[in-house]
């Protein structure tokens, strides 16, 4: 019997912090990335090594894209670290989540009424906590960049506009659309990755050999696409926030 839990399973407590398997996985991802970052930092050269050129490629791609979208090198460089971190974090979490052993190595916990399987690791983005955190950061970031570009007073007019009846309601709509972005960001990422996990579990249970392979490729692709979608949407929303400063003088 396959048991699929919508929430990440809790493993234990670290002080006041309840540690679940998704948090553990994201710690792994962060740790791996930090090690990678250190390796890059201390092997950085004008003529790049392979690992350096991969990072350079990602960085150059996003920098070029953002310069095009924002029409300003300065703005692009200011926003870039945030957006790039979204991409790298989400991508590595998604790909680490596909690795065999994650979601399948664990313990059977004997509860009072039933026995449940407790995997040690679970794809970080298959926990709504992670995606919600990222979504909140993304949306707040958008507001902060908007305020930095337009000033607090002018930017607040985007949501609280008393210059007319229609404008007032447009502002209210705008406000709710920002709130809804949090939901759409978090549930899109969570849904895709969680569905992928479920799909892999189900296929592996039905036909354990060979058959899951195409679905693994699919999940690698989905993991990349979702990271890209999240990043792109953030870039575009920040562009919209910058627009407030540029319009209506």
């Amino acid at each position: 019997m396959i048991e699929i839990s919508l929430k990440a399973e809790q493993l234990g407590h670290l002080g006041p912090l309840p540690v679940n398997n998704s948090l553990l996985a994201s710690w792994c991802a962060v740790l791996i990335l930090i090690v990678l970052a250190l390796i890059i930092r201390f092997s950085i050269k004008l003529i790049p090594s392979k690992i350096q050129s991969i990072f350079e490629m990602i960085i150059e791609y996003f920098l070029g894209l953002m310069e095009e979208i924002y029409g300003s090198k300065e703005k692009a460089r200011k926003v870039f670290p945030w957006v790039a971190t979204f991409f790298i974090f989400i991508l590595s979490c998604n790909w680490i989540g596909i690795l065999p052993g994650i979601g399948s190595i664990g313990l059977y916990e004997h509860g009072e009424d039933k026995t449940i399987f407790l995997p040690f690791l679970r794809s970080a983005n298959a926990d709504l906590n992670t995606t919600l955190a990222l979504a909140i950061i993304s949306v707040l970031l958008t507001q902060i960049f908007g305020i930095l570009a337009a000033g607090f007073f002018k930017y607040s007019k985007r949501f609280f506009n008393f210059s007319g009846f229609i404008n007032f309601f447009a502002g209210i709509l705008e406000f709710f659309s920002e709130l809804i972005k949090v939901v759409s960001f978090s549930f899109r990422l969570f849904g895709n990755i969680f569905a992928g996990e479920v799909l892999l579990v189900v296929i592996s249970a039905l036909v354990p050999f060979v058959a899951p392979l195409p679905f693994y490729f699919l999940e690698i692709f989905v993991g990349f696409i979702q990271a890209l979608v999240f990043t792109m949407l953030t870039i575009v929303f920040i562009r919209l926030a910058f627009l407030v400063a540029e319009e209506g003088h």
């Binding site: 919508l6 929430k7 990440a8 006041p16 912090l17 309840p18 679940n20 948090l23 994201s26 710690w27 962060v30 990335l33 930090i34 970052a37 250190l38 890059i40 930092r41 950085i44 050269k45 004008l46 790049p48 350096q52 990072f55 350079e56 960085i59 150059e60 920098l63 460089r77 870039f80 670290p81 945030w82 790039a84 971190t85 790298i88 974090f89 970080a124 926990d127 709504l128 906590n129 992670t130 919600l132 955190a133 990222l134 909140i136 950061i137 969570f190």
Partner: protein, 166 residues
């Protein structure tokens, strides 16, 4: 709220993920983005500089090529000029020498002619004188005392004239 708990939403976990993100942001910012962006800028600068440098060198070499051609053409022209001048000078010198030689030869010839003439004349005069003396001697011997000196000189003159006419 039941919805949230059914998804396992937990404020502490949320915060832990936010912290994760910020740790990663800081680490990546200082260890990856900043050095890599600076190195990208540096590389772009280097590439641009070396491109400019290459362009400059190319231009310079083109200029040098033109200059070289100019110099070569000039040198060739000058060489031609020098050769022509030398040829002209040589010809002049040759002409002069020939002329001088000719003049010298002419002079020698004319000198020789003058000398010859003078000698000839001198010889002739001497011959005349000798012939006259001889005639006098012969005639005085032949005629002896019969002829006076007046007719004698007349006769001599006649003989001389005859001889001259010959």
């Amino acid at each position: 709220m039941e919805l949230l708990s059914s998804f396992g939403i937990n404020g502490k976990l949320l915060l832990a993920q936010v912290v994760n993100f910020f740790i990663l942001l800081l680490v990546l910012y200082f260890f990856v983005y900043k050095p890599i962006i600076s190195i990208l800028d540096k590389r772009n600068k280097t590439i641009k500089e070396s491109q400019d440098e290459a362009e400059r060198i190319k231009q310079e070499s083109a200029e040098l090529e033109i200059k070289k051609k100019e110099i070569l053409a000039k040198a060739r022209e000058e060489a031609m000029k020098i050769i022509q001048e030398a040829r002209k000078e040589g010809e002049n010198a040759k002409g002069d020498a020939v002329k001088k030689a000719q003049e010298g030869a002419q002079k020698i010839v004319s000198d020789a002619k003058v000398t010859i003439k003078a000698e000839q004349e001198a010889a002739f005069m001497e011959l005349k004188k000798e012939v006259a003396d001889m005639v006098i001697a012969v005639s005085s011997k032949v005629i002896a005392k019969n002829i006076d000196s007046d007719s004698e000189s007349k006769l001599i003159d006649n003989v001389v004239k005859e001889m001259e006419n010959k």
